[in-house]
Every structure is written in C-alpha cells, then in structure tokens.
Amino acid sequence: MEYEAVIGLEVHLQVRTASKIFCSCANRFGEEPNTLVCPVCLGYPGVLPAVNKQAITKTIAAGMMCNCEIAGYSKFDRKNYFYPDMPKNYQISQYDLPLCQNGSVRIEGVGFSGDEIPRRHIGVRRIHLEEDVAKSIHVGSYSVIDFNRAGVPLMEIVSEPDMTSPDEAHAYLTELKQMMHYADISDCDMEKGQMRCDVNVSVRAVDNPGFGTKVEIKNLNSFRAVHRALSYEIERQKELLEESAAVEQETRRWNDEEGVTTLMRTKEEAHDYRYFPEPDLMPLQISADMREEIRRNLPESPASRRERFVQEYAITAYDAQVLTGEKALADFFEEAAAASSAPKRVANVIMTEFLGWLGDQGKTVRESPVGPEAIRELVSLVENETISMKIAKDVFSEMMETGKAPGDIVEEKGLQQVTDQSVIESYLQQVVQENPSVVDDYKSGKEKALKYLVGQVMKLSQGKANPQQVNDRLRDMLSQ
C-alpha cells in the first residue's frame, strides 16, 4: 500500500517592535525577570489596553509577504481560559475577523534532505495578531512566572494542510522565516522563543480520499527538529496502518535527544474559549491608503529575488537559493555582482571563500571586514589577468584579515601575474632541464606529467605566472 502524509503547521512569531502590543513596556528578550512589566501586561484590575499601531502594520506586512487578503475591517476578541501565564484569565486575540486570510507561500529548491522540491504553493489560512503570554518555569513543587514576555505582539500563522513531506514543511518554515527577515517583521530566533511551531500530521492511503487521524506534535525547537519529528511520526503512523491498527488522535511530544515522539495526552478536551469581542479596544479599519503605504515599503520577496538573480546574473537556481538565504547576503552579492563583468565568479567567491571565512570566524555578513566592492575588485583582478586564481585566494585571506583593498595588496606585495613572455620562457627552460624523466613521461603519452611540470613552473614563479599561458607554452615546447 502506498501512503501519503498530510501536514499542517501553526507558527507563532513575535513581531519586532520597540514596545509591547497593549502597553509601552519595552519588547526585549533576555532582560532580568519581571523588569519589563506594568499594570497592563501584569493584568491588574481596571487597566485598559492601547494597541500599538506598528504591531498591526507589521502583521499586515507579514500578510502581504504571504500573498494574503488583508481585512478592511478587523477586531480583537477575548479568548477566555485559566492559566497562571495569563492572569486576566483571557488573552486578547482575534477570532472571526483576523487581519490576514487566504494567502500562500511558495516553496522550491533543494530540500533539507538534499532532494529537489518541486515548486508548490502552500496555503496560508490566516494570520492573526494577539498578545504573547508570560513565561512559566517549572521548579518542581511550584512554578515561577516571568512577565517580560507577556504582551509581546505575537502573530499566529496557520497553514492549510497542504504539505506532504518533512522537506516541504522545512521549506515552508525556511521561506516564512526568510520573508519575515526580509521585511524586518520578526527576528524569528527559535532559541529565544520568537518563533514557535506546532505540527499536525496524518497519514492516509493514497487511494483513500478521506483524511487519516491527525496527531499534533509539540516541543519542536528547531527546523531540524520539525523535519526529524515529522519523519519519525510519518513512519510510526504508517506502521500502525500497515498493522491495521488505529492511529489515535493525540498530542505527542518530540524528544530531540532520543529522536522519538512520545504520548503527551490523548483525548482532546473540547476547548470552549467563549470568544467575544474585546470591549476595551475599538475595531480596526484598514484603509486602502494604509494598505498601499505598507505595500510600498515591502522589500522584494526572497522568491522573486531568487528568480531575478538567475536571470540577471546567470547563476544557477541553487546558487540563487544560497545567496538569497539571508537578506544581508543577498544585498551583499547584488552590490558586488551588479557592477561586475563576471557575476558568476562573484557568486562563486562569495559562496565558497567568503561564506567559508565568515563561518570559520563565526561572523555574520554584516560583520564582514570588507564590503562587496572588495569582492568585485578581487574578481576583476582575476578577470583581467592581473592575478591568478591561486594568488586570488591569498589576496582574499589577506584582505579579510586586514580589511585592505585587494588592488593595494597586489601592489604592495608585487603579486601581479608575470605575463612577460621572456621571463616565463626562462622558467620553462629551467624546469624542463631539471626534470628530464618527467619530460620523457609526457612525451611517451602521460598527460599527467604535464600538470606536474606546470606546477613546477608556477612554484618557480611564486604563483605569479599565468597557469594557462604556462600550460600552452609548455605543450608547444614539448611537442617540438
């Protein structure tokens, strides 16, 4: 029997703002517990919320990045429940009129597993805005609460159950995170709880038109964990179906160390949150002007940038996927490539040398000691044959260490390629004389021998001879 997974994701994303959603306490992570709090976010009796316009603007921007319809009329509602992380006993959220609905996220490219993902659009059912709740820490015989997080603007992004594989779920999350970074909506740092993800997954026989029984997975702390948990859970459900056993509707917890999901709770108690309109907040009317202004400030989406990079700079789809992974990197590449005669080479230097160097140093693109113009200059020095690729690597290391311009380094150290015919000729003579047996090998048909001789000439020139020129001249000389 052939099986197919049906996956839906619910993502919570903290919106990056200066202040919280309903009060003017700072929205900051990592401060001393209970220092960014006030009567509003502590839920004291008698206080009134005042909504932060920027949180609404950024949620609408998030909806636009996801191709959503933006509500003309929207409102906040109370979601009633009892839990110490929400002392008002209700969370201000949105129920029937969310800010954004009916969008989609395009996924494609090389997946987490290394396999190619065919281009698909994953539906986004809705994006709504709510207040984050406090953080509770379980000490054992009691629990403690830190309210710094309470009232941080939080978006809930609910996908349609459109994904069919762990790779697709991973790609959806990656794309979502990229878009939110590009538009400066959220920092999406999962370790800081700025991005949280719950997964729903069911498995059904391919020829069965209905859905299988849905299982929810919690405690997913990285995209990798989402991928692994889904792979595990899909296999587990398949095995149950193979044995004709029932998949129970339940919530399972991902155990990252052991790589398994374990049962958290079975029967979902039917939640009744008794939603009703928040009487303390006036509704929202999102005018065409406001929408237009938000749209004007949106950045180019990562997807359209990928496409454009392939067309304008003649790089591969994979190169474009890597180079657009982060907006700062995409900007860096584009600035280097736009004025370069060899954008593909610029892409290569950035992807191998530059990213390699940053990785080794644990630095981000923004922390690079050189700007994009340095990479462009380095590439042009290779292009106009001032230096060889080999020397370029040394110049690269030097410029990353010192921050000096590549042209200055070449000048100072006299690294210009030796193109003077007579100088090269003398190197050639010397190497041929010193290596008679290798010369004989080449003449008797061993192609590899030539490589060795070219290497010797390069060594003699301290890397400054043009390898192609040496190669050609040597071949001529030895064929005479």
Partner: protein, 101 residues
C-alpha cells in the same frame, strides 16, 4: 453555545464550570431561571428584519484608536513582587505547580 438540552438557552452548570464557579443546586436553579429570561428577551431581536443592519462589535462608532510604537519606563520590580501573592528569589512571581501542557 454550551450543551443545553434543546429547549433551554443555557446550561448553567456547564458555563459555571468554564468560569470555575462552584454553584449549589439552589443556585443552579436560580441562575438557570434568571439567565433564561434574559436570553429569551434577546430572542425579541429575531422577530425583526435585520437584513439591512451591519453587524457591530462595538456600540461606539470609532475605529483605529491606536498609539505609536515607543517604549517607556516599566514598573519597579520590588513593587511587582510586593503586589504578587507569592514570589521566588525576589524576582519571580511564584504560583502553585503548573502541570506541563
């Protein structure tokens, strides 16, 4: 809403349970009657033709009452702790053990 028995508008026991209220049998009977009459009164609306009336979430015809994004001083933590029923380490609000969700 709720699990009413079809003829009534409200199941007082269910609603009380959601609100974490403990009611005596007498109270259940009393509130069942009182709330029933309130909700029956609301039924009056269904006798009117409201097809031209826009749904309203608020009686006040205002919208977009918002503030610009800007952070200001928060409360002093000692006051926060003093206002809490219990605390831990002088920096957390302490509550009974929460069974992990």
């Amino acid at each position: 809403m709720g699990q009413g028995n079809g003829t009534s508008h409200i199941d007082v026991r269910y609603v009380a349970d959601l609100a974490r209220l403990e009611l005596t049998d007498e109270e259940v009977e009393k509130f069942q009657g009182e709330l029933e009459s309130v909700l029956t009164y609301v039924d009056t609306l269904s006798r009117l033709d409201l097809s031209d009336i826009e749904p309203t979430a608020h009686a006040n015809p205002q919208a977009n009452v918002w503030r610009e994004d800007g952070a200001s001083e928060s409360m002093c933590r000692d006051d926060v702790i003093r206002n809490a029923p219990d605390s831990a380490e002088g920096k957390y609000i302490r509550v009974p053990p929460i069974i992990e969700e």
